[in-house]
């Protein structure tokens, strides 16, 4: 028990090896670690008995940079943390600063933000699905997923000119009015996407190899997940029905109907099922939102120079990977005194050791994929 209460504490290099044990080093240059993650594994034959993640290769000091930029200047930087879900990062930051200012974006801006953020969630999950399946050995899904992801990126491009690091939102609302035909584009995508998800499922859900490689692999119980601060789809796959969009609604989520998918076992297969269902729910939210985008201004009256009154705020959103929080301290000047980013990938990755112990080396690749990390966000 003491072991499970203190995961991630191992120091693989200094432990004494048993007669049949070896240390295997994975990464930082390894195709299935999705970036520069290095994992040291202590192995007994094919079994992992201990592991240690070594991170920081992508550390750029984002929180330090924030203290030397104005509130608006820092907004584009947040896109470069979780760079496959830049829109979600921007939403969290903009809403946090708005809270700090004591203001709120107008209703029209909030609905447009919701649509784009949900599209981003689908795009992020598609990237996860494609690469995760690729890691495990299924080559086809990645092409299908990138095909649909492209449609979402095209919508982003038409809206704000950028595809990945979009800087789509501004503190106080939106900079750009929606383009003519946004609703139709989103509707067309959503209509097509329903059958596309079924198509992915025909490739994987009952595929014997997929099931064999994911069922029972990397189990994380609900109690462990909560103790380790794990959030997002990983937590929900362990059976905790908790989603910030429902628990503490932000943007325009309180206006729409959607379900929170959960599963019980908390293995790699369950996390796959939860994310697939989340894409369907995101599609549902988008369809409801485009039906009725309120008219009115897209920007709150906040002035050009932002000087939030002294104080502090914590605001978090349900990013595709889990709870993305911003803790901002203001000293009343134009630059934040401190910006702390609570990155979901960083905290979720801590559960890796717990999930990997007892697994086979080949499963480690599946487990890294299933946590869905982005190293840009882990290292910041």
């Amino acid at each position: 028990m003491s072991d499970s209460r203190n995961p991630g504490t191992s120091n693989v290099s200094t432990t004494v090896l048993g007669a049949d044990e070896i240390i295997l080093n994975m990464g930082p240059q390894h195709p299935s670690t999705h970036g520069v993650l290095r994992v040291k594994l202590k192995l007994d034959g094919e079994r992992v008995v201990d592991s240690e993640c070594i991170i920081g290769y992508l550390h750029r000091g984002v929180e330090k940079i924030a203290e030397h930029r104005s509130y608006q200047q820092f907004a584009p930087y947040v896109d470069r943390m979780d760079y496959v879900a830049a829109v979600s990062n921007g939403l969290g930051y903009c809403e946090a600063v708005e809270k700090l200012l004591g203001t709120e974006a107008p209703p029209r801006a909030r609905v447009v933000r919701t649509i784009l953020t949900e599209l981003q969630r689908i795009a992020s999950h598609l990237l996860w699905l494609g690469t995760h399946a690729l890691d495990i050995g299924a080559l086809t899904p990645v092409f299908y997923c990138f095909r649909e992801r492209e449609e979402i990126l095209k919508i982003f491009e038409k809206y704000c000119g950028a595809r990945l690091t979009t800087h789509a939102f501004r503190i106080g609302g939106l900079q750009y009015e929606t383009y003519d035909g946004l609703e139709q584009d989103v509707k067309r995508f959503c209509d097509d996407f329903a059958t596309k998800i079924d198509e992915y499922e025909t490739l994987l859900t009952e595929n014997r190899i997929w099931v064999g490689r994911t069922k029972g692999v990397g189990i994380l119980t609900a109690a462990d997940a909560i103790a380790l601060g794990v959030t997002g789809p990983v937590l929900r796959a362990s059976g905790v029905k908790w989603d910030l969009r429902k628990a503490m609604p932000y943007a325009a989520y309180d206006q729409y109907e959607f379900d929170i998918p959960t599963r019980e076992t908390g293995d790699t297969y369950d996390r796959y099922v939860v994310r697939m269902e989340e894409m369907r729910q995101s599609r549902r939210i988008c369809l409801q939102a485009i039906e009725n985008i309120p008219s009115g201004p897209i920007m709150a009256r906040i002035g050009k120079v932002l000087k939030p009154p002294p104080g502090e705020v914590y605001h978090s959103i349900e990013a595709p990977k889990g709870e993305l929080g911003y803790y901002i301290v203001s000293d009343g000047t134009t630059q934040p005194y401190r910006v702390r980013v609570r990155p979901p990938s960083f905290v979720n990755l801590q559960a890796f050791d717990k999930m990997a112990r007892g697994a086979l080396v080949a499963d480690v690749v599946a487990i890294i994929g299933t946590i869905d990390i982005v190293l840009g966000e882990v290292d910041r």
Binding site: N6, R108, R301
Partner: protein
Amino acid sequence: MAPKPPAAAEASATPPAKPAAPAAAAPPKPAAPPAAKEAPPKPVPLDNELVQRFKARFGEGIREATLDRKQAIVTVAADQLREISGYCRDDEKFDMLVDLTAVDWPKREKRFDVILILYSFAKNERLRLKAHAGEIEPVPSVCEIWPAANWLERECYDMFGIVFEGHPDLKRILMPDEWQGHPLRKDYDILKQDTDWVRENLGIESGQ
């Protein structure tokens, strides 16, 4: 042309490049809700049932309780942080440690604020614990209470040099192990670096 509500069509008649300013300044839009002038948010003292229970249990250990932007902050004595955290988890049902971080106020006698953000699934509520810590004064680790604190405390140590007493393996996490200095301290300049480390490991004169 999309069947848009009239007000939106009106807005799109203005040049599309910078619609934000004209839309906000346009007079025939009385519906703009954020125009309501509210008093700027500021921290106020907090005295609810939770705080009273805290005070009854820990007395002087609870230094201050405030409400800032509708968020509860309880400042506690650093040496009692572990007991108070255990109480928060077991009795007040704050079962998840969302985040643990620090803020540096170099001019203060005790320069660091150690911040713990807690969440209770049962109450759907957040609570922020804050403890003041001096530069060389260790802070009790909460790893035994919330294992999530492990990496978060390591990051805090890495970035601020705050020592967490009782942490199972306190070492740097984001910066290289041999790095000198703690980058998020206010007296660590943004252009500063560990030149010796850079020369030795990267083979260049400067990383700038």
